[in-house]
Subunit: 518 residues, 2 copies
């Protein structure tokens, strides 16, 4: 089947149709305006649900059959259990056992533990993935082996797509560390506590059928109800929904690498000199050793000056929780907990608030939290001389990561990417990135160990830093330095076949992931 | 304009069309099954909202103009400020000033303080009310003076109607005791604290434009966010949103009337003997002196036996809060706070949870809380020999009350109506009620000072009580006793003109309110 392509507003070649659905090419930040109405789920009736509120059914298989599991359906899961997820695979084991074909899997993110699903991608149980194809699933996709074309979306873009009806979920399966028989569910307690369930919010609101799976059934009411039973069809009790030691699998220690510590220090000093750290400011640092270290720097500055942050966006971890409990941050608005201190704090501290892609990231809402953050610190695999950045593919062309909240976060008042100038002698700053995930106009500062580049659009920041002793350079200078050390990087070799597309926060197509030539 | 009528499943004459819209006559409990999809609001874009989250506009008038206020629009408000509401009237003052006509007002309930709106019903600023017409507004309606036909809905029915698109709100105005500039809002704190804002949830989710009005603007984030700023278009700061001393206006003291105390005692003894009070049971007693007294009895029984209720549905008040704080109730699932202890407790106790008509009452959801309650104690103006009951009109035919959550609550496992056998020498138990608000099949027990009648459908309760020393009688016996004392009551005289309809929880028409003949 020949695929037609067009160039979008970033001059990237994108397919006109994907999996049979016509796409809108990326038009620029804020340029595409939706005209339709939100997706409207069918009206339910209490007459069809048990009056005593007991929605339990014996097994996940029963629940899936009652939910009408059949060929071509769209099945969604969330990733709050991260690499300790035990439920997603079961769904497709059951589907395979029942001989169901061509399912579309819509996880909020995928993890290496789900690499076993490759067999179902190969045998046609799963047609394609809309979500993220990480690690082995990414390699499989890059090799052109997935039957359909993958669709990568940010956390906010996933909410947007479900809300807008671009994704019509037939069955949402929501694994929950604690739930009641009515379907109220929470992630902040129970043997497999994972903090919150915000990534499953859209699924619970818009899916045709919603199944809650738990290993900790409590008497009604399950408080808090992060997922509301009023949206739930069936509840299934299983022996174990997640492997606790693998749920909390993010980097939880600050970096010891001198290079990364330098990046953290330069970033913090930049924020301080640029006047970004003030009494009542807000920040989001994310996970990863460098980000954690930046948090430590921020805490030090606040403590020293008797100031506090009004709010921080999580991914929460023990360092952020300590800031909250030490009174250096008034509120953590948390999208996912990265360690057990985060889980405990969300359970115990009223100032540690669970959020969702709806509140924080959805671009098709009446505003969201991400654009209100004073400064966000993020990563990237590549950045080009126009500040366009890549977070999904590596420089060899392989798809290895999801977008996460990255696209949504770059709407903050100041987006800083601390990145090494090169990795394994491959320059990170380059003429052109393999895949554009975010347009350069939203990326304000690149911090490398050899210099800091400010986006020329941010004349205010350039002005503020003009007398700084920090190594302020142009992005071109950084690129040249990288190339003088590593040489000009080779471009990866692709076939002309798209294996996945990258959606922008508004549902338009910002770039294409191509099949690797080898 | 001639109106066509049909008889519904309860043999009540109901109009085929109301305000130009075709109606579905009541078909029986659980008999009408919705087939459509939920109402789908327009998709918004963050590109149209301020990136810094500041949605404040100078005045309510500005906000209404920006929201496009124009002839025939549907305007909604909530009633959490009860008789201390200061915002609803302003909306229509502004509309009148702008020369706007034929608005439809959709309050979640009306109060006597809003009787001044009669002038706008008279001059055509407001065409009709969908919500409740209490007191003076009810009399005005009963006299046939409203231009359109009123539509009475329960709290759950209001959510259902908005969700299902029967009511399409153009502009929702949400008065909030505390809010931030993004529109996050809470009722549990601030100078005009009213507890929660759950009655405005549907409005915030489905209205075209949402305006939050507050007198207590706090820096982002306003926590908790009972109303989510992501659904809000404009924020207006005013000097005062509500009169605190009038916000908490419900009965907050237990009754001293010997008759009412007897009703309370009989009801509690009935519940006890029928085995309804067990360790882990649930109840809803509502406001009013009798209900409060029943709560006290329940507390005594629980304390004496070392038991506790798992949950109670509020309307909360100081007695229910004391039960929570004494460990006699684990959770209060609260729909509205009736006194300042309720407000304080909701702010302070994690076990005092704010709910909404979505969680508690919406019949077009995947279940709701109301049907899970073990016992609910409610009032009625009249009950007929088939246990059908009336809560909106008096026996003289005048519309004076809204339905509140009454229709929703009667889905509980046991619905008990403690009522006096007669009021002002007018029998409460009668052959036929003036208006049927709830079908007798859902009403289980009538408790009067002269005897207790169990619905013949509840053979289980009749069996349990067969050896009771309580004065168990038939409903016919109670009616005969009332009539032997007061005589057979006269029927009110009506013209043939419908002035309002009463919707059932599923959107069908259960009865008609007629114009008074005088």
């Amino acid at each position: 089947m020949p695929v037609n392509f067009v160039k979008n507003a970033l001059q990237r070649l994108v397919p006109v149709k994907v999996n049979g659905v016509t796409q809108v090419p990326y038009r620029g930040v804020g340029k595409y305006k939706p005209t339709g109405r939100k997706y409207a789920p069918k009206i339910a009736s209490c007459a069809d649900f048990p009056a005593d509120g007991n929605k339990t059914v014996p097994t996940l298989k029963d629940a899936l059959i009652r939910a009408g599991l059949s060929d071509g359906m769209v099945i969604s899961t969330h990733h709050h259990f991260r690499n300790g997820d035990l439920v997603s695979i079961q769904i497709f084991d059951i589907a395979h056992e029942l001989g169901i074909k061509n399912l579309v899997w819509v996880p909020s993110a995928s993890f290496e533990c789900q690499a076993v699903l490759i067999k179902y991608l190969e045998d046609g149980t799963i047609h394609h993935i809309e979500g993220s194809m990480n690690g082995s699933l990414g390699r499989f996709t890059s090799q052109g082996k997935m039957k359909g074309t993958g669709i990568l979306r940010s956390h906010g873009g996933r909410y947007q797509a479900i809300q807008d009806g671009e994704i019509k979920i037939d069955i949402a399966v929501i694994a929950a560390p604690t739930a009641d028989a009515f379907g109220n569910a929470t992630g902040d307690r129970g043997p497999a506590a994972c903090g919150l369930l915000g990534f499953a919010l859209a699924d619970s609101q818009y899916a045709g059928k919603v199944i809650v799976v738990t290993d900790n059934l409590v008497p009604f009411p399950c408080i808090p109800w992060q997922i509301q039973g009023n949206n739930v069809d069936y509840v299934v009790v299983v022996a174990q929904v997640g492997i606790p030691e693998k749920i909390v699998s993010g980097t939880t220690e600050i970096t010891k690498s001198p290079d990364r510590l330098l990046l953290a220090e330069l970033t913090s000093r930049f924020c301080d000199e640029a006047g970004i750290i003030y009494d009542g400011f807000s920040f989001q640092a994310g996970a990863g050793g460098t980000a954690l270290s930046i948090g430590i720097y921020f805490a030090g500055i606040l403590r020293e000056r008797g100031m506090k942050a009004r709010w921080a966006r999580g991914g929460s971890n023990k360092y952020l929780v300590k800031m909250l409990e030490d009174g250096l941050v008034e509120y953590i608005l948390d999208g996912q907990t990265f360690d057990l201190d985060g889980v405990r704090s969300m359970r115990e501290n009223n100032g540690h608030v669970n959020t969702s892609p709806f509140t924080s990231y959805n671009y098709h809402g009446k505003g969201n939290f991400a654009s209100m953050v004073d400064v966000v610190i993020l990563g990237a695999t590549e950045v080009d001389v126009n500040f366009n950045a890549n977070v999904v593919t590596h420089s060899d062309g392989t798809l290895l990561h999801g977008i996460g909240g990255w696209q949504n976060c770059i709407f903050s008042k100041c987006t800083i990417l601390p990145v090494p100038l090169f990795r394994d002698r491959i320059p990170v700053i380059r003429n052109e990135v393999t895949t554009i995930c975010g347009p350069g106009e939203l990326i304000d500062v690149i911090v490398t160990e050899r210099g800091i580049a400010i986006n020329p659009l941010r004349t205010d920041l350039i002005e503020k830093m003009k007398n700084s002793k920090l190594p302020i350079k142009t992005i071109q200078q950084l690129k040249d330095e990288a190339e003088s050390i590593c040489g000009i990087p080779e471009k990866p070799k692709f076939t002309g076949k798209p294996v996945a597309i990258v959606k922008w926060v508004d549902g338009t197509v910002i770039d294409t992931i191509w099949q690797l030539a080898e």
